[in-house]
Amino acid sequence: MVDSSGTGEEPLADGFAAHEPWAFEEAYRRYGHLLYSTAYNVLGNADDAGDAVHDALARVWRSHNAYSRARGAVRSFLTVCVRNEAISRRRAQSRRLRLEDRLAAEPEQHDELPSNDPIERDRLRAAMSRLPDEQRAPLQLAYFEGKTHTEIAHELKIPLGTIKSRIAIGLRKLAAALGGTRE
């Protein structure tokens, strides 16, 4: 086992791309809370969130060409892997469960991160609310409701190509408003 303490982003990304076990473990230690929280925000359930994180990471681990250095930061790559896994589970669940069943579920007790600042929490929604309607609506349906671009186009009665460009523009504005992208 390589001692990875103090490893920077670049060596971690190199190790991750080379499929080194220490890099996978270190990546989880660094980003585990972000990954879990991301899954939890989509699924609203601790067990499902844990399964989504585990299964997404296991799939990346089994696949030898999922990540390359060209992809950029390991943190971003894993966050989107886990989020897409969670969204996929939510879509499958919503096909299985009726809405009433979900509403009847007991609220869970949950540990929250120490930096849990209510103002910080609302930054995303506040930034979202400042987007023009034409960008906010498709982005909200995609990001918060996990709908596909085909469903969004159908719901908003807007062509697919327009949905795609509005989501792309809205996402750029939102990321810039929240402090820009970090690599």
Binding site: Y36, R83, E120
Partner: protein, 216 residues
């Protein structure tokens, strides 16, 4: 050209992928393309970084301790296969066994396949299309995404273990359209066509293994 740059590859579909607005089949098709295309990997990485800014702004749940144990045990239980010998084997093949013409041919085939994948990505991500699952597919799942006017078809197979032929079934006949060859556990075939096909079949050799009924 799209506003994001090269529209021959995944283009704005990078943002749809990152924000979670593609279905499983579309995601898998992009994964497959990006694994062999650094340009699109960079585009997708940039979109993923933007979505991560959103995810970080909304991160407030602490991961349970047992999840780390679970992840670590999965990694340790299934160690990475040794890869160091792969370049050595490749070098031996290149130098000693295979003529360069073979590699030129392979390279051309790879470029043609990537161009077809890029074309398929563009259509699936940006044009109105219909999507139908193949029925009776055992040990995997397959779907055809196609334009309502029948001008293009993308067949995507997950869990593919061997190449499957795609045929148009019509008037008691079978017209072979092409072969979907797996890379990893996924196979894709892009078919630009000029007519509507209402019944497609997947064949393993001569045996029909799945069928799809298309509506227009």
């Amino acid at each position: 050209m799209s506003e994001l740059g090269n529209f021959e590859h995944i283009g704005d579909a990078a943002d749809l992928y990152a924000v979670g607005a593609l279905d499983d089949f579309e995601q898998a098709a992009i994964d497959k393309h990006v694994a062999g295309c650094d340009e699109c990997a960079r585009l997708l990485g940039a979109a993923e970084a933007r979505v991560t800014v959103l995810a970080e702004a909304d991160a407030r749940h602490k991961a349970p301790v047992q999840l780390e144990r679970r992840v670590v045990s999965t990694v340790r239980a299934r160690p990475s296969r040794p890869r160091a010998f792969i370049p050595a084997v490749a070098a031996a093949l290149i130098i000693g066994l295979l003529p360069s013409a073979y590699f030129w041919q392979q390279n051309q085939a790879m470029h043609a396949e990537m161009a077809a994948q890029g074309d398929a990505m563009t259509r699936v991500a940006s044009m109105p299309h219909r999507s139908v699952a193949f029925t009776d597919m055992t040990g995997g799942a397959a779907r055809v995404m196609y334009s309502p006017d029948g001008t293009w078809y993308v067949i995507f197979i997950r869990g593919a273990t061997r190449a499957l032929s795609v045929a148009w079934m019509h008037d008691g006949q079978r017209t072979m359209l092409g072969t979907a060859t797996p890379h990893g556990d996924a196979a894709m075939l892009f078919l630009p066509k000029s007519h509507r096909m209402d019944q497609l079949a997947l064949l393993d050799g001569e045996q029909v293994v799945a069928e799809a009924q298309l509506a227009y």
